[in-house]
């Protein structure tokens, strides 16, 4: 696994030695150290499902994600589609090379897309459905043919289809591709190249001098991995790292008032929800099948307290399952969900859930008490605070729910077997709502799919099919708004909050210009940072 390019290491040593002896601030190469608790496990882009920040720096795509659901041109300068939406033509940039100097044209782009489809590249092929042919008409023209028109061709399908140099990959037998882990797998046409990597320790990226948009202002990015969140926050405090993204909420108080640290937050496609299990063959109590009970639970949740205590203010109260971060797809007609204990109590009283034995807990008509298992996963310290607040709210409406923490894996196992009552989950996804809307379809209830609640409606499924082929953006938006209305009424998920993505950096050493960052990590690292002179 050890990946070493000794000439590069030697260069770095020499550069540092030279810098040390010359000490002219303007001429020194700038180095941004990024702290994280997890760099990457698998470098191979065909199988790697994490480390998208680094992959965004190594590889490029035809079209790139920008803020919200917007996109900008990448290796493709422009694009157009035929009347029927079946044939897409992309004009590919001229003069682009991979970081190893080989050309990157429409030929390489066509090869990459075809290769992903032919070899069923696990991490990428799910995006490339409905593509029947990819062809390079000439080095600057790429043509993609679809089996049916899709609304998200530009906004979603091509955003992760990295264009790779064929000469690295084409001779690897298909069954060995997934296991191929040579450092050369990181070669792409992006703004940085990997020069050193020690798994579990660090990764060094140097600016690609031949990058077609121009070399990055920061010469070197060093990722450092820390064993725990406390050590990570402390590393920022003592200046061992310059930048952390995805700052854990529990780490915020320690750095909030530090004069050298700037905290930035932005609404992202992130949210938290409470899944309610009411599948017919699940193990949850029958009372959860009653929409009145689910509504009362929803009303008993003090979302503002969750935001204040668990997210330290870096979140907005949630209501629709499409996040505010998804822009126009978010249904603004869905009203705020009130925190109203009195009304929740009244609803339960009227529905006949009364505390007949005087123990403070209401009973269902068959005499069983309203007692639920309330769980969260152990991946973040904030999670326990959230279910504690939910549990307190439930106690106020005569429902007993003891908060429990389990490992992510055992919760997934519970979810797949529908062996739970209430589980709190934190989510993040792509900006295109296709995947998220698929979660509540009947099909996703089978074989360990994503539908964990028991909601299954032919009406919703028909809307899902309709949005998948609606080419008119307004039409698609209307359909997705309707889907949100249905889910908001049925409540398979109680949407708790839309959470911010939080980053923090050393402002005594770097200036971060959010205007240069276009919100994605690639752009934040490519042009967002510039070194404070003399630091």
């Amino acid at each position: 696994m050890s990946i070493f390019k000794r000439p590069f290491q030697l260069c770095i040593v020499l550069i540092i030695a030279l810098v040390g002896s010359v000490t002219v601030a303007q001429d020194s190469p700038s180095k941004l150290t990024v702290g994280t608790t997890y760099i990457i496990d698998v470098l191979n882009p065909t199988t790697s499902l994490y480390g998208y920040a680094q992959k965004g720096l190594f590889y490029e795509t035809l079209i790139e994600a920008a803020d919200g659901a917007n996109v900008i041109p990448g290796l493709a300068e422009s694009w157009s589609s035929s009347e029927d939406g079946l044939v897409w033509t992309f004009k590919i940039r001229e003069g682009v090379t991979f970081s190893d100097g080989t050309p990157c044209t429409a030929v390489e782009a066509a090869w990459s897309l075809n290769w992903y489809i032919e070899t069923s590249a696990p991490a990428i092929v799910s995006y490339l459905t409905n593509i029947t042919a990819v062809e390079a008409l000439d080095p600057t023209t790429l043509q993609i043919t679809l089996s049916q028109p899709v609304p998200n061709m530009v906004t979603a399908k091509l955003l992760y289809a990295y264009i790779l140099p064929p000469h690295i990959w084409q001779d690897i037998p298909p069954d060995e591709i997934g296991m191929y882990e040579d450092p050369s797998v990181t070669i792409g046409s992006g703004p940085y190249v990997m020069t050193d990597y020690q798994p579990g320790e660090y990764m060094i990226l140097d600016a690609n001098p031949n990058y077609w948009r121009g070399p990055a202002p920061v010469d070197q990015i060093v990722y450092r991995e820390y064993g725990n969140e406390d050590a990570l926050i402390q590393a920022l405090q003592v200046g061992e790292v310059d930048y952390i993204y995805g700052v854990p909420f529990t780490g915020i108080p320690a750095i909030e008032n530090d004069p050298n640290i700037q905290i930035d937050s932005a609404l992202a496609n992130k949210w938290s929800e409470l899944s309610v299990n009411w599948t017919p063959d699940g193990t949850s109590p029958a009372s959860l099948h009653d929409p009145i009970v689910r509504k009362a639970i929803d009303y008993s949740i003090d979302r503002q307290q969750i935001i204040n205590i668990a997210y330290l203010g870096y979140a907005l109260p949630g209501n629709a399952f499409i996040t505010m971060g998804m822009g126009a797809f978010y249904n603004t007609d869905i009203g705020e969900i009130p925190y109203d204990i009195a009304q929740a109590n009244q609803m339960l009283d009227e529905a006949g859930y009364v505390d007949s034995d005087g123990d403070g807990i209401r009973e269902y008509s068959d005499g069983t008490p309203l007692e639920y298992r309330l769980m969260t996963d152990d991946s973040a310290a904030a999670n326990f605070r959230i279910i504690q607040i939910i549990s307190d709210g439930l106690a106020d409406i005569g429902i007993s729910a003891f908060p429990e923490v389990e490992s992510t894996d055992s919760l997934i196992a519970r979810q797949v077997d529908f062996d739970y009552d209430l589980i709190h989950w934190e989510w993040d996804t792509d900006a295109d709502p296709h995947f998220l809307t698929s979660v509540f379809t009947c099909a996703e209830m089978q074989d360990g799919g994503w539908n964990d609640s028991g909601f299954c409606s032919p009406e919703y499924d028909a809307l899902f099919e309709a949005q998948a082929t609606a080419l008119n953006p307004d039409e698609r938006k209307d359909i997705i708004w309707q889907m949100q209305t249905i889910i908001a009424e049925e409540r398979p998920w109680l949407i708790l909050a839309y959470t911010d993505s939080i980053s923090a950096y050393r402002k005594d050493r770097f200036i971060f210009d959010p205007l240069n960052a276009i919100s994605t990590m690639k752009w934040a690292l490519y042009t967002g940072f510039s070194q404070v002179s003399g630091s």
Partner: protein, 337 residues
């Protein structure tokens, strides 16, 4: 020197222990709830078909224990066409499998990590043994004085402190002065150069100290009571009567006998030190086996966990075997029993 059947018995016992551990190791991780592939690919970017491909790639589509399907169809040979069968047959070929999370050979991952943990344990243990013995002997020699009392109080306190807690305290105290994470400054020096090893040394100070303090107090307490006991023996009085100097008495008469329990405790302690290494490596982000185990538990990376546990088990068994042999050399009475 060593009786053959004594050694033989010990080796057979060690091999038996190893066999039990190998089987236990396999099932230990599989009784955990959940499914490693589900966890790895609980990701919208992964289609069900791709999940199945990977399940087959890692042999997770096969039954865990024995293949009853093939047995029922009359194929006796196919009974071990299972995850367990593959695990055992790979193990005998020296192949620990492929990591679910990292997609590379567990042998390579462990080889990369083991020497780092060995370095940390070695540094920590050397400091602990030398420091523990010296303080223990001094405390015993000054038995009942303030030196003894303070050594005892400090020893008991540090012994009772959880390793991770001590680590966090040291981390806060030393921050800004000593490096608190990792093994090297990324890219600062070329591997193998003097600068590189100096850098490793600087990064080693905090984790090794944390590890050493816990062990040292244990060694100190044992050494102290052991020396105190020996010093009360009649032969020490005889030595004094012969007019030997204090140093001579300590060196030739007291220490030799007091060292016996130390050998046992050092070997036994190895198992605990390994456990401590998991905590220390996590606190100080030391990229060794301990942190690998910590991360792999979260990811349910069975092959890595199996490999790492096997490695640890083998080292503890070996250490015990060596102790037994050493013990029989040091103490002639052992051989007879």
């Amino acid at each position: 020197m060593i009786q053959f059947d004594y050694l033989f018995r010990k080796i057979v016992f060690a091999l038996l222990t190893l066999a039990v551990i190998i089987v236990f190791n396999f099932f230990l991780f599989r009784i955990l709830p959940g499914d490693p592939i589900k966890l790895l690919f609980r990701n919208p970017r992964m289609t069900k078909q791709a999940q199945e491909t990977i399940r087959v790639q890692f042999g997770l589509d096969k039954p865990v224990w024995i293949n009853t399907e093939r047995l029922q169809s009359g194929d006796i040979g196919g009974i071990f066409d299972s995850q367990f069968g593959a695990y055992i047959s790979n193990l005998f070929q020296g192949n620990l499998g492929i990591s679910f999370a990292q997609r590379s050979s567990v042998n390579e991952i462990l080889a990369e990590r083991i020497w780092r943990t060995a370095l940390l344990l070695f540094a920590g243990e050397v400091v602990a043994i030398v420091g523990g013995i010296i303080v223990g002997v001094v405390a015993a020699w000054r038995h009942g004085t303030w030196v003894d009392a303070s050594a005892l109080i400090i020893g008991l306190t540090t012994w009772a402190l959880p390793t991770f807690f001590l680590g966090i305290i040291l981390l806060v105290i030393a921050r800004g002065v000593l490096p608190t994470s990792g093994m090297v400054e990324p890219g600062a020096a070329k591997e193998g150069t003097i600068e590189y090893w100096l850098d490793v040394g600087r990064h080693l100070i905090l984790p090794a100290t944390t590890l050493a303090v816990g062990s040292a107090s244990a060694y100190m307490l044992i050494m102290r009571s052991s020396v105190v006991e020996v010093l009360a023996e009649d032969y020490i009085l005889t030595a004094k009567a012969k007019g030997l100097s204090n140093i001579q008495i300590l060196k030739n008469h007291a220490l030799k006998n007091a060292m016996l329990p130390m050998v046992t405790i050092i070997a036994l302690n190895l198992g605990y030190v390994v456990g401590g290494a998991i905590q220390v490596e996590t606190v100080f982000s030391w990229p060794g086996i301990g942190r690998l185990i910590f991360d792999s538990v979260a990811k349910q990376d069975y092959p890595v966990l199996q490999g790492a546990f096997l490695l640890l088990a083998v080292s503890v068994i070996l250490a015990n075997l060596v102790t037994d042999v050493l013990y029989s050399i040091l103490d002639p009475r052992i051989k007879a029993s």
